[in-house]
Subunit: 342 residues, 4 copies
């Protein structure tokens, strides 16, 4: 079985495993107050070109989403999200668990537009009985989205502008940010994201780390007391230095970006193979997730040797499947998959 | 600086680090559905002598407490805890975040008694306006407690009996369970705990793992859908196999118990040194936490070379400090500390 | 200004106001433990033909919805509702405030079908990653709906059957139940509702009372401790006897049904006037809410003398408005409105 | 049976009942947007001498507490309260239901001191691991307290000063404020309270209204969007004009103060009778609650003809009971009680 079902089925990049061995004898204070974590924070502030940003390391994405959104919203507010947003679909109600509604808007290949956000804001403001509705309090976007797409810089700038005009903090879920930054044809950089968002996170779990998401808070309004909120959610890792060490490895010399490029490179190679095999792609994605539409018979045959996710069922004879590459994907694995398409 | 401030300041036992290297090339499905995690579950079911128990692996203790307590209580119920219980003092309101009150009772060296629980239950039942009070819905105990003490088997059996008679599920926080099972003079075994509690967890973070708590649910009433609850709390680790691998290492041949004995052995050696130095012990503990009362001048001097926690301030001249040993403590570190007492 | 904007813009039926005067000197224990409230409970048990039902009196509908739904769902579960359901649209996130997601399905004129519920249940069950989604835990329907429509007995029976087969408790929001029971052409009776639902409430606020909703819990599983849940939500009225007295008035000799018939009678008279005036009706409703589509010029003209709600904007030239009659509507008010249509 | 068990066992002052009759034919828009409610707000702003204050009318005290505290606290914060505070003891966890811990301090006859609050604040600030504890976020006091006592102006001023210095908003629960303002020997006025607190409420339920608490928000920081928060909690009464009408009656010409004086007058008369009968008073209270310590035999005898609350059991032979007078207490009722003491 070769796994293309997700981008988190192998442990970690060899450098991280080696570093864990190297620091085995070190003693550190708990909860991320150690020097290695401080070093990792410094690397990230440099990478995002934002020396004043607060950087926290959390274990996973659902946790990061719940803590960030819970930190921003007042009780009567909700978070605007595309209907395909991870918080709207695959977190077992983690946002609602914090008392907040996810206000969904129909996404286009996973993305929202600035105009949609403005419209949602205006609709609420103009409703004479708006006190009976959940008030939009922030905007959540994913980059890459759950459909593998990325925003263009112009799109992100337009969204950011609307959000600031409407006083809606903008949060970007970067669980797969490494693959987004390396996306085929993208013009969005990490400093752009830091400049345009109020808060975001840089996913490690899916890009070479054992686990970990680097949460960046740019808006000073949401910086105070954030560690309390992490702890309250059970997200303050006792051995926080383990998160620091990993992000140190990923950001000390650009490994994170290199791993992103590797994953995307394999995905583009796979994409070419899919197209050659005549399989239409449901979403036009330049990142590590590919969504071919395949005959069910082919899907059944592939399932014997390859793991993948069944995404949609557009008709009786075909399925849209999701194939993920990652930092760990090897060329021969992709070749085997392409060979099996024939 | 030699650290005795906590039992989680080094990464992990060498076997775990080596195992992570060994499995680097393995591919696993996500979220703990892999075979290594299944193996770890089997080892634990054997160790606790409870083949029907459900076993889940969570990342940390606060998370485990919040998920378990949230799983048991109905909205109007609270959890009984000693006033020193971790959930009552050091979790930034994680239990209240799930909508529940912690109903504190005065502990004795961190422990509750069966009689106290019965009394609290009776007081509520007999109060004619009890609908205006939070209803006791379960009981939380720590073993070892936050004061380093352990329950005797007779005490645990009495508590369990009262809890069952009052329909109050009993939960045991075993964040330091390895040191409790190895406690000097204890007569409580892991199968005893599994037999007497409705749910508990076996702490890995403080006993040799990078991170991880093995949650055991004995009471079938709370077994269904528990994975939903973990996910909702953001606690379902994407690379769940990392938890499985670690507990596999700890339970495949008794390493967990051996690490507990090591930590307690060093603590008993330290304890002897403290007594020889004429320092009274605030709590009479046979586990890895020691609480000497030291003159403030000595505390200041020690603080230059040793990390420890300041626990209480009983009077103007003295402090109670907490010294933790662990699976990683080396004899020469303890010797250095003892030498510094003179 | 004559008000057709809602069905709660006048205080209470004269009998209720008179009864309040009569009992002015009476002393009662608090929180609904008085004899008048007990009498009201007895009247309602008789009216619904369910001697074993629990009956509680709450102040308002949003409160009743939040307490009932919070009482039923486990933390990882959500409540299925039509997209137009009051809990999904006009309660400022009151359900999410209890930690639960509203799982919306597209309604047809405000109604769900048994097949939709079955499908939603099956979709969840069959999803291999369902632990990452909110689990459907109960079903919420309104009768009449927010669009003024009512379920037929056959529809209700089909929904109830599916709900029981899927172990999804069925809750009916009867904020306007009086008008539903008197709906033109309905074959659903109060005992039918009590027989087919696990819980529901009989709205008083909109049907002659100053305020108050009679919550009926048929399913014994959700009966214990319900008063705790009311109190926890701040819904246990200190002078609970005020609720008892009002429902005593409404149910001692059928006043509730008579008021429902009056409101519907005036609505049917209004409906005839709307049709004669050539105004199409957006929803085909036999209850006290009528939804004509009117030219915007007419809407503006009417707004000078009549209060109504603007419901939808189907096109540039027209609006759907909502006109409510009630227990208090007088024929001359309706005549004035009809005259103004010309 | 003559009832001294609480101050909410009769419906409402005759003026309120009469006013309800008078307005029976009036039509009002919903949710407190009507002119009568606006008039009531104006009366209250005048009475508290705070023209910029926001005034909202809620149905009950537990609801008011939960909405106000939930409006102020960030997720990781808790509310400081005396251990006897209503929110700490008799609201079935309504505050915890909003996700917040009640941080109790030992009260003295129900009261907190400025020094205690300062100490609690300092303790938290100075704790090096304070991120692991709930952060104090506001202060809750009751006036009168649950023990019938009142703060002096000097005490209130000292508390207010500390709260402002520590950025802890101060909230005053005035469920019995009418009796506090009329308390024997008090020097605290309604404008004092408005000046010294960030928010408070003026209780109607216990002082002549059918129900209702007038919530006053002085601090502009907590004024925006408060109606959303009321609605989210299910506390926005559909027929909000019923609240407006009642507070109009109470504040149009000082009826509220007069009712408070009446209740206190009867309590002072009762108090004299208790002292003459040789019964010691547990708390020295100048308000409508009296707490005599009585032999159990006397308590049993009284219980045949009088309703009262059993408060404490200081020893085997005696009980502390609570006797409440109210706006509705008649002199002959008190005389009957005094006569029964002999």
């Amino acid at each position: 079985m070769i796994r293309f079902d997700c981008d988190y089925n192998q442990s970690a990049h060899p450098r991280i495993l080696a570093r864990l061995q190297e620091i085995a004898g070190e003693q550190h204070p708990g909860y991320g107050t150690d020097t290695r974590t401080e070093q990792a924070r410094a690397y990230i502030r440099t990478a995002i070109n934002a020396p004043e940003a607060d950087v926290h390391f959390l274990v996973g994405g659902t946790q990061a989403n719940a803590v960030l959104i819970g930190a921003v919203l007042r009780p009567h507010q909700g978070v605007i999200s595309a209907d395909t947003g991870h918080i709207a679909t695959h977190e077992t109600g983690a946002i609602e668990a914090t008392g907040h509604k996810v206000l969904i808007l129909p996404g286009t290949e996973g993305k929202l537009t600035a105009a949609q956000i403005q419209q949602a804001y205006d609709n609420h403001q103009n409703d004479p009985t708006h006190e009976h509705d959940v008030q939009p309090g922030m905007v959540y976007i994913s980059h890459p989205t759950e459909s593998g797409t990325v925003y263009t810089l112009a799109e992100l700038e337009a969204i950011s502008k609307v959000c600031r005009a409407c006083h809606l903090p903008l949060m970007l879920d970067g669980a797969r940010l490494g693959y987004g930054l390396a996306a085929h044809g993208t013009d969005v950089t990490l400093p752009d994201i830091a400049r345009l968002c109020d808060m975001f996170y840089i996913g490690g779990t899916k890009v070479g780390a054992l686990f970990g998401e680097a949460v960046v808070i740019q808006n000073p309004r949401y910086q105070p007391d954030f560690r309390y909120l992490i702890k309250r959610h059970g997200g303050l890792l006792a051995k926080g230095f383990l998160l620091g060490v990993q992000f140190e490895c990923l950001f000390e010399d650009g490994l994170y970006f290199q791993l992103g490029r590797h994953g995307v490179g394999e995905a583009m190679y796979l994409r070419q193979g899919l197209l050659v095999a005549g399989l239409p792609l449901q979403y036009d994605t330049g990142t590590n997730q590919q969504f071919p539409r395949v005959p069910d018979a082919l899907a059944e045959r592939l399932a014997k040797d390859f793991a993948f996710a069944r995404w949609e069922k557009p008709n009786e004879q075909e399925s849209v499947i999701r194939l993920c590459t990652s930092w760990a994907t090897q060329r021969e694995e992709v070749d085997a998959l392409i060979a099996a398409l024939g």
